[in-house]
Amino acid sequence: MTLRLVVAEDQALVRAGFVSMLRSDPGLEVVGEAGDGEHALHLLRTLRPDVALLDVRMPLVDGIALTRTLTDELPDIRVLVLTTFGDDATVVDALHAGASGFLLKDTRPEDLLAAVHAVGAGEAPARPGRDGGRAHLATLRRLAARSRPAAGPIDRARARGPRTPCPGVIQR
């Protein structure tokens, strides 16, 4: 059974690149694309895909705020968060918001596809390649060291909220 996907990414060429990668996999079907958070939310509500690939940085509503909304409203949609950087605060916030996985945008295409499949099957968090993977694991270890309930597979448990609130889209 093919996994239905929605891709939200504000840079048009990057979005086109992801969509192209995803379409090369017969087990995946991209049912919608969005260039900002509001449009993405609309598509997610209407299309109810299996997996949502959300860029952190988007106009109107950012990817992490969107993830929180989805965790509340549409918990069956699994979220894979994409970013250019992988700083701790962003990773922690994404996981707290309920994301199933976190990937760097420069992940190898093969790893991206594997991650989408893994997340779609409800498996353990995606393992982004190379530095992204190390950063991801390191963050998880740090979280575990602080005795937070995040040492094992990340599921969309509602957490206490982000450690340090990061400025959202409205405040520039």
């Binding site: 940085r57 945008k105 420069d106």
Partner: protein, 382 residues
């Protein structure tokens, strides 16, 4: 603390003073009856020693006062000529002005004793003890007074210098923080461009599959280089980030976001007239970001220093440069010009892009103008 005093005082021997007094002495010599060459020496020696009164105040004082005592002992009943009194006064004054602490107390006592001894040796019954005390006391008091005043002035000067240094340091730190922020944003722009390249290359390589293996290999190389560059950029950004900073959640602004900026400023109470023309989309993201930030900084300044006054913003994107002008009429009552730190970002970004920025009053309005060339003078990371 004494160093300041000492250095100033000991820079020159007081030769003119000593020479002048010796010359005067030669004129006066007839008016006093001298019985022997010894008296002549006792007269001239203290005057000559005054040349070193600043360098060795205590020995000179002892020499001067010692010769006064000897002179009185040699020819009792006579106070020496007025020059000797003057020499005494100067020697005691110099000691009081130069010395401090225990040395001052010791030499003070010694000089007082010598003055007293000189008076006693003269055995001039008419004058009371008041004279020697005055001869010692007046210059001593004056010397101490001058000393205290000089030290106090030096302390004030030092405090002022420290304040200036601290302010300078604070300005430098603020400048450093602003530069870091600018650097962060520009690295961010580059990182997004490189990400785009890696994604496009990867997507194409996946689409090719096993066809065209050489092209695939080339694309793989592009991806690998891009990933390497991104790793380096992430390190740079971690270095440049302030401790409480995290990755911003909003996309970096560009010239296309100027209308919404104008709206926000308008909502804050200052009417904004925005005039934009030219090919905005042709402006590279780094320049567009800087131009936006400059307008933002200028508007923030207007809202802060002239709230409620209308502002006119003109941005024009030409083929070779982007011109920015932010203008607002000056208030009728001239207000405080402000710290000047508010426009740091504008001048820094202008300099960074090899452009210019000026800010100042013109024709009754405060005008901030900047020009950012589009052809980079410094090659940017591809």
């Amino acid at each position: 603390m004494d160093v300041l005093l000492r250095r100033w005082a000991t820079s020159y021997p007081d030769v003119p003073l000593a020479a002048g007094m010796v010359a005067l002495c030669l004129f006066e010599v007839d008016s006093v009856a001298y019985r022997s060459p010894l008296q002549g020496v006792l007269l001239v020696l203290p005057l000559v020693s005054l040349a070193w009164r600043n360098r060795w105040p205590a020995p000179v004082a002892v020499v001067v006062l010692g010769t006064v005592v000897l002179g009185a002992a040699v020819s009792p009943g006579q106070y020496g000529p007025q020059l000797t009194l003057l020499a005494t006064v100067l020697a005691v004054y110099t000691v009081a002005a130069q010395l401090s602490g225990r040395a001052a107390v010791l030499i003070g006592v010694v000089t007082l004793a010598l003055v007293e001894a000189g008076h006693v040796a003269t055995r001039d019954g008419e004058l009371t003890h008041f004279l020697p005390l005055l001869a010692w006391g007046a210059p001593w008091a004056t010397g101490r007074l001058v000393r205290n005043r000089t030290l106090a002035a030096a302390a004030v000067a030092r405090a002022a210098a420290q304040l200036v240094a601290r302010q300078e340091q604070e300005t430098q730190e603020a400048l450093g923080r602003e530069r870091d922020r600018i650097a962060r944003e520009l690295h961010d722009v580059v990182a997004h461009a490189v990400s785009l390249m890696v994604v496009q290359a990867g997507a194409e390589r996946l689409a090719l599959g096993s066809t065209l293996p050489r092209t695939s290999a080339a694309l793989e190389a592009v991806e690998a280089a891009g990933r390497g560059a991104l790793t380096e950029l992430r390190v740079m950004l971690a270095v440049l980030r302030a401790p409480d900073d995290c990755e911003p959640r909003a996309p970096l602004p560009s010239l296309a976001d100027l209308p919404s900026l104008a709206e926000r400023v308008q909502a804050a109470g200052s009417p904004v007239e925005l005039l934009v023309d030219g090919a905005l989309t042709a402006v590279p993201p780094g320049v567009g970001l800087s131009a936006y930030r400059m307008v933002q900084e200028a508007l923030t300044n207007v809202v802060k220093h002239a709230p409620g006054r209308p502002v006119q913003v003109r941005v024009s994107a030409g083929p070779a440069e982007v011109d920015i002008e932010v203008r607002n009429p000056l208030p009728t009552v001239p207000g405080q010009p402000g710290s000047g730190r508010g426009l740091v970002g504008i001048s820094e970004r202008a300099a960074l892009h090899g452009g210019v920025a000026v800010a100042g009053p013109r024709e009754g309005a405060w005008v901030v103008q900047a020009r950012l060339p589009l052809a980079a003078l410094v090659p940017t990371v591809p």
